[in-house]
Subunit: 351 residues, 2 copies
C-alpha cells in the first residue's frame, strides 16, 4: 500500500505564500516554455503588434522567467516592467542580462497590486490563464494592473478570452470499471461488486485536468462565455456564466463534459486576430482540458440535444480555486445539476 | 501558467484523518490489485503456507478491499479478521459475501490499535509496505498487532524486509538541463543561464518515486538493513540504518542513489522462501523505486568505490512521513551528507 496523502484547507495568507512558492520550482517554468503552442503564439502575437509596441512601455504581469518581456523588448519596447512575486524573478534578471536587454527590461519583485511603477504603460502583456481558464484567479491581477497602470486606449495582450463546453465520452471509464470483472480470472477472487463504488469514485465532483481525444468529443463545442479584457471587472469574475446547447453527432454514451478556452490577441494586419486555443481539436497545450464527470453515463443518439448553463465561481475555501457548476439536460432526461471543484492535491507521485 | 498549488503541515489528528480518508478512493486499490507482482506474490505465499493456515485464525492488518483475507480463507483459514480503518471496509464486506466467505471473513472497521478481537490469532498477514518501504509507517501497526494478538510461535506474512541501495545515473537530468540550451533556437531567447537553477531544483532533497531502468544502475545493489518482523520493535523503527559499499561497473556519472526493498515470506516447501522484490532488476511494481539525487553529478570509473551509511527515520513534522539521510563517499571525493524526505504533495494534475 503506497500513495501520497492529500492535504486540505489553509488560511488565505498561507495559501498565497504557497501559491507563489510553488512557482519557484523549475518544473512549471520548463513546462510552460516547452509548451510550443503557448509560447510561440505569444511570440507571434507580440511580433505582429510590434508597431504598437515599438518605443512604448510594457507591463508584464506575472512575468515568471521573463520570456514574454524579452519578446516585447525584441519587438522594440522602450521599457518593459517585468513584475513577478516569486523568486523566479532572480532568473528573469539573469535572462534579461544574458540577452543583453538589461537596459530595457526592469524586473520588479512583488505582486502587481503592491509594486510602484515610475510611469503608466502603453501595453499590458500577461500569461494569466489557469486550468479551466480561471483556476488560480490570476486574471484579477491583470485587471487590477489595467485599471491602475494602463494608459487609456492601451493594448492588452491577449484582449479576449472565450469558454467552451462539449459532451464527451471517456473510454478510460469503461476500462477502469471492466477491470474489476477481470480480477477473478487473475487471482480467483470475484471483485465485480466493486464497479458501483469505482464508478462513484471516478465519476466524482473533481475537475479532472487531462487530454481529451478529438474522437471522444460528441458534438461541436458550444461557446458559453466571453471575457473582454478591456471591460471585464473583478466583480464580473465572481460568477462567469452562460448557456449552451449542443447536438450529438451520433450514438454514444456521454460520460462527462469537456471545458476548454481560447484567448485572442488583436492583430493590426491580416489575419485580424491570433488565437491561442486549448481545444481538443487543436494541438495539445499544457492546459490540457478540464473534464467534468456526470454521476453516470447517459446514452445519446444522433441530434440528441444536450443543453444547460455553466457557472464558474471562486471556491469559498480558497479564492484561487475555481468551482464549476453545470445545470444540464440530456435529451428528454430530467434536468440535473452538478458542482465541480479543482482538488488542492494531485494524484500520486511523480510519474 | 497553470499548476496545482502544494500544501504543507497539518496536526497529527488531521494527518491521520487524511491518511485514512485517502484510502477511500478506488484508484489506490485498483493500483494495488492491478500490481500483479504484489498481489500474486501474496497469493502464492498464502497458498504455499496453507498447511499452517488451514483451520487457523488469521488477522489481516489494513485489509483494504480484503483480497488477502479472501486468499487466506481460500487457503482454509477457519476465521479471518480483516481490520480496516477506512470506509473501503464496506467494500471488503461486499467482496467477502460475493465470494461466499462471509462466515469466515469478519471485517472489522477500526484501527488495529483500538479494535477488540474475540481471540488471539495464529497468523498475521499484512501488506504494509510504503514507498521506500517505511513511508506511511504502517509497519508500526503490524508490530502492535503482533505483540497484542499473535500467539507465541505464530506466522507473520511476510516475516522479513530488506533494504538496498545503489548508485544510478539518470538520463532525464541530462535531457532537462539541455532543454534550456534549446530555447534560443526555438524562440530566439537565450535561456541557457537557467541550467544552474534547474539543476538545484531537480537534484533536490525530495525522495523521488519513479521507475529506475536496470541499465541506469551503476553497481550491484548493496543491502544495508534487514528487519525481522518477529523481533523488530517500534523503537527500532525510529532509526533504521546500515552501511553500504558498492563498486561501479564502469565509467559513468552518478546522479542519484536508488533505494528499494524486498519482503520475504516463509515457505514450508521448496524453495524455502518467496520474495516480493521491488528491485529495478525485477518486474515493475506500483512501489517503483525511491530516487535520492546528489546535489550534482559525480564521475566514476570501473571499480570506483561508492560507500557510506543510510539512516531512515520518521519526519518530525509527520510521523507517517519517512526521511532518509545518506552519508556517502564516492571514490577519493570528500564525504558528503544529504537528507531527503517525501514531499507531502505530488507533481501536477492527473496525467
Amino acid at each position: 500500500m503506497s500513495h501520497v496523502v492529500k492535504k486540505r484547507k489553509l488560511d488565505k495568507t498561507h495559501q498565497d505564500a504557497l501559491y507563489f512558492d510553488s512557482y519557484t520550482d523549475v518544473t512549471i517554468h520548463e513546462e510552460m516554455i516547452a509548451d510550443y503552442v503557448r509560447t510561440n503564439t505569444y511570440r507571434t502575437a507580440i511580433m505582429r503588434n510590434s508597431e504598437l509596441i515599438r518605443g512604448k512601455v510594457v507591463l508584464d504581469v506575472g512575468a515568471g522567467t521573463g520570456v514574454l518581456s524579452v519578446f516585447c523588448a525584441q519587438a522594440g519596447a522602450r521599457k518593459v516592467f517585468a513584475v513577478e512575486a516569486c523568486s523566479i524573478a532572480e532568473q528573469a534578471v539573469n535572462i534579461a542580462i544574458q540577452n543583453n536587454l538589461q537596459d530595457r527590461i526592469e524586473v520588479i519583485r512583488g505582486t502587481v497590486e503592491t509594486v510602484d511603477l515610475p510611469e503608466k504603460v502603453d501595453v499590458i502583456v500577461s500569461e494569466w490563464m489557469g486550468y479551466a481558464l480561471l483556476h488560480e484567479s490570476m486574471l484579477n491581477s491583470v485587471l487590477y494592473a489595467r485599471d491602475k497602470w494602463l494608459k487609456p486606449g492601451g493594448l492588452i495582450l491577449p484582449n479576449k478570452a472565450e469558454l467552451y463546453i462539449a459532451p464527451i465520452s471517456d473510454p478510460m471509464i469503461e476500462d477502469r470499471l471492466r477491470f474489476w470483472y477481470t480480477v477473478k480470472d487473475q487471482y480467483g477472487v470475484d471483485m465485480s461488486c466493486m464497479t458501483d463504488f469505482a464508478q462513484r469514485c471516478i465519476m466524482n465532483s473533481e475537475i479532472t485536468v487531462n487530454f481529451v481525444s478529438a474522437e471522444d468529443v460528441l458534438s461541436h463545442p458550444a461557446r458559453f462565455a466571453e471575457l473582454d479584457l478591456h471591460s471585464v471587472t473583478a466583480e464580473d469574475l465572481r460568477s462567469v456564466k452562460g448557456q449552451f446547447k449542443c447536438q450529438a453527432f451520433g450514438s454514444a454514451a456521454v460520460s462527462a463534459f469537456c471545458l476548454f478556452f481560447t484567448v485572442t490577441f488583436p492583430c493590426p494586419d491580416k489575419p485580424k486576430t491570433i488565437v491561442l486555443s486549448t481545444s481538443p481539436f487543436q494541438p495539445d497545450t499544457h492546459w490540457k482540458q478540464a473534464m467534468l464527470y456526470l454521476d453516470a453515463r447517459v446514452d445519446v443518439e444522433q441530434d440528441t440535444v444536450v443543453s444547460g448553463e455553466v457557472n464558474m465561481f471562486p471556491s469559498e475555501d480558497s479564492a484561487r480555486h475555481i468551482c464549476i457548476s453545470v445545470d444540464y439536460t440530456i435529451g428528454d432526461q430530467e434536468k440535473e445539476k452538478k458542482t465541480f471543484s479543482i482538488p488542492d492535491w494531485s494524484s500520486g507521485p511523480q510519474s
